[in-house]
């Protein structure tokens, strides 16, 4: 029988502390007592963001939210609401947080159950090319509120109080950055949206802009008002044509509606935004390099201080934030810092968007409250690994981050915990890796990327990453030597300390973290010439077993003619000629070829 009611109980940490499990037990008991067990389905959800009113229960249909519950309230809910069909006013939680809308539409889908959408609150709900859609969901309300009721200093204070930290990677407190920029006297000032999204394997910022460009525009307008800037720039990758089109249209529509331009909403605040395209250079995500790129030059970073807040674009004070950081701002102004800071952990407030991909069943964007564990993201939201494959590592932070093994899966997502475990929060790439991948090869992959993207300005990064890559390549080719691991560690530590910008300062991380967590794989490569994942070509061999039927398929597909044999007779591989492409292995219908 289909359930008549669906009850969602918040299973977030704060609700549990407030007695959610007792409420659950009471609910089970009451349903049994009233013979309703078949008619009510119970779901558990991640943090619903109403922690101060916990424990929280949502009754559907109707999306009625009850909060502050104890055992005795449960009895009333069952008898009055479920049996009697009446809402219980004094237990209802007043709620008009925007992100709830997302749940009214998608909340019952497992993938979204543990998520909480603040930055992506409108993605998938509104038509991103229609400003009226955005307006109908309290769009530009925060800007209106700011310009009529709040001074610039109020906004800075509110953002500071919210505890928001930069989502571009480093996690610098956003409010503090705003305060520093606001304090500068020089004019004109600029605000910049960093939409260069460099992590190769992540697409949070692109999706945010494609799904809800006005949020970014509104966030930037609020930032500009707060720090006293009149001009804004969105620096976006040229590889993102749809995002470029949508943000361009959003800016035009906002201008036409008087949310950008002169004397915005009748105030004396003037602000407008232009778009500048990147041209495919990872280092341009770094703020000083990005500024040089907007100025029309090679995107080379420069030493800081002076920070952009003092001397940024065209030498003027500049406030630069990441797309996702901007997308949080309108919510903070609209619903207040007090509410925002109830979501998340002590040091990391709010939510974080991740691009979940790799060897995981559900791939895609997920937005979770800070404090959610890696395990919850990978298994509860991501659905675990496909085909029963075994988990080996999760990579966060892209080329600046690290690989964490199984024993770190219960690490909560926040800036400090991830750093302590040996990775970083980063901008939101999260790649699940299984036993088919070799950790030495993964480290080599990232280093090859950073080495290639190193701008060449400072020696530690330019030369150091090259030497590290040489050693890693050598190890994956089976030519590793005793002492290579220590040499990599020593080089890595030096590069981290001595490099000019964040690129070099973080480039060794993937190598150092894999040595830390998967040292045995390095040792196997060096000492035994063995790659347990079978990924390093030089260390594997293909052999044909006695059971070969002599069908000749392998002989025909071999691109280098390394396989010989007569029809219906055992075939053999000439190991000197073989290039280990694995084609014969894939093509053999009788599983008579093995990888050793």
């Amino acid at each position: 029988m289909a359930a008549k009611y669906v009850i969602t109980l918040c299973d977030g940490t704060k609700c549990i502390n407030n007695g959610a499990h007792r409420v659950r037990a009471a609910l089970d008991e009451q349903l049994r007592a009233h013979g309703l067990t078949d008619q009510v389905r119970i779901n558990l959800s991640g943090c619903l963001g109403m922690c101060e009113k916990g424990p929280i229960m949502v009754v559907n249909p109707g999306y009625v939210i009850y909060g502050g519950l104890d055992e005795s309230d449960v009895e009333r809910i069952v008898t009055e609401h479920l049996v009697g069909g009446k809402l219980i006013g004094d237990l209802e939680v007043e709620q008009d947080h925007l992100y709830n809308r997302f749940y009214r539409i998608f909340g019952d889908v497992g993938f979204f159950g543990k998520q909480m959408r603040i930055a992506l609150r409108n993605c998938g709900i509104i038509n991103p090319e229609n400003i009226d859609d955005y307006l109908s969901l309290r769009g530009y309300e925060a800007l209106g509120k700011a310009l009529t009721e709040m001074s610039p200093a109020d906004i800075v204070a509110e953002v500071q109080r919210s505890g928001l930290r930069g989502r571009g990677g480093a996690g610098f407190p956003t409010g503090l950055k705003w305060k520093l920029t606001a304090a500068e006297k020089a004019t004109p000032k600029y605000v910049i949206c960093n939409a260069d999204e460099g992590d190769p394997g992540a697409f949070m910022d692109r999706s945010a802009i494609e799904g809800d460009p006005h949020t970014v525009v509104e966030g930037m307008a609020l930032g500009a008002y707060a720090v006293g800037a009149e001009r804004g720039v969105v620096y976006i990758r040229a590889e993102y044509p749809l995002a470029i089109k949508r943000i361009t249209k959003a800016i035009e529509d906002a201008r036409a509606h008087g949310f950008l331009g002169e004397r915005i909403l009748g105030s004396d605040f003037n602000f407008d935004i232009e778009i500048r395209l990147g041209a495919g250079a990872f280092v341009c995500g770094e703020e000083t390099a990005l500024i040089h790129s907007i100025e029309g030059a090679r995107g080379m970073p420069r030493p800081r201080p002076p920070y952009p807040s003092v001397q940024g674009l065209f030498g003027k004070p500049t406030l630069i934030n990441n797309v996702e950081t901007w997308a949080n701002i309108p919510v903070i102004i609209m619903d207040g810092a007090t509410w925002f800071s109830t979501v998340g952990t002590e040091t990391s407030k709010g939510t974080k968007v991740f691009a979940l991909a790799g060897k995981v069943v559900n791939t895609g964007l997920v937005e979770v409250p800070m404090g959610t564990t890696l395990r919850e993201i990978i298994y509860d939201i991501g659905g675990g690994l496909p085909g029963g494959r075994k988990f080996k590592a999760v990579q966060t932070g892209g080329p600046s981050g690290g690989c964490l093994p199984e024993r770190c899966l219960d690490t909560p997502i926040d800036y400090e915990s991830l750093a302590k475990a040996g990775s970083i929060m980063g901008s939101g790439g999260m790649i699940v890796i299984d036993e088919d991948s070799c950790m030495v090869d993964i480290a080599r992959f990232f280093l090859e990327f950073t080495q290639n993207e190193s701008c060449g300005k400072c020696t530690p990064c330019r030369e150091g990453t090259k030497r590290m890559l040489e050693i890693l390549t050598r190890i994956t080719e089976g030519k590793g030597r005793a002492g290579d691991i220590e040499k990599l560690q020593r080089l890595g530590e030096t590069i981290k300390k001595a490099s000019l910008c964040g690129l070099g300062q973080s480039a060794p991380n993937p190598v150092l973290s894999t040595i830390e967590n998967f040292r045995e794989e390095y040792e196997e490569h060096i000492e035994q010439g063995k790659c347990r994942a079978g990924a390093c070509k030089a260390l594997i061999r293909f052999e044909i077993l006695q059971m070969c039927k002599g069908c000749g398929v392998c002989r025909k597909v071999c691109p280098v003619g390394a396989i010989t044999g007569q029809a219906k007779h055992l075939h053999v591989i000439d190991q000197d000629k073989c290039v280990r492409c694995g084609l014969c292995f894939e093509k053999c219908k009788f599983d008579a070829i093995v990888k050793v």
Binding site: G198, D199, P200, G201, A202, F203, R206, S207, A238, E239, Y240, R276, L277, G278, A279, G280, A281, F282, S293, I294, E295, G296, A297, R298, G299, F314, A355, A357, G358, K359, T363, G364, Q395, G398, G429, I431, I433, D434, D436, S437, I442, F445, F446, F449, C455, P559, C581, G582, L583
Partner: protein, 165 residues
Amino acid sequence: MTTTQEKDALAELGEFIAEVMQREYPHSHLIAVLHKAQALYGYLPTEVMNEVAVRMGIPTAHIWGVATFYHYFNLNPPGKHTISVCLGTACYVKGAGAILQRIKDELKIDFGQVTEDGMFSLQPARCLGACGLAPVVMIDDTIHGDLTADKMMELLETYRKGSED
């Protein structure tokens, strides 16, 4: 390319340059001008970069510096079809390396090169935002996902045939 087409392209580029030269900090628009030039010509021919230098009053050396710094700019004419192999992390752990190797073996070109018949050029791509379909290859503007080396070979064949008609 015929000369009239070239003249049109140059006229359009010239107009764009004239327009940005009116703005504040005109030289900051150099990258936008190069984007425009590449859109018009398919790559950045040396003569065009020289022309940009003259019209914007920027030393040619600086323009070369910028054009070679950014991966997006091509200094050589591309093939008829451009194959971009995603080498983002998700695609890499799902076997993009093997696909790339097959393409290189089959077409006998490396990144940044064009096949002898001018049909294909090859370039690496960072995440194409289609990680759910990994491994992914983009040919011109079309994304092909869930690829294997074999499917890739079939695709190349389709593009070859498509071009004959």
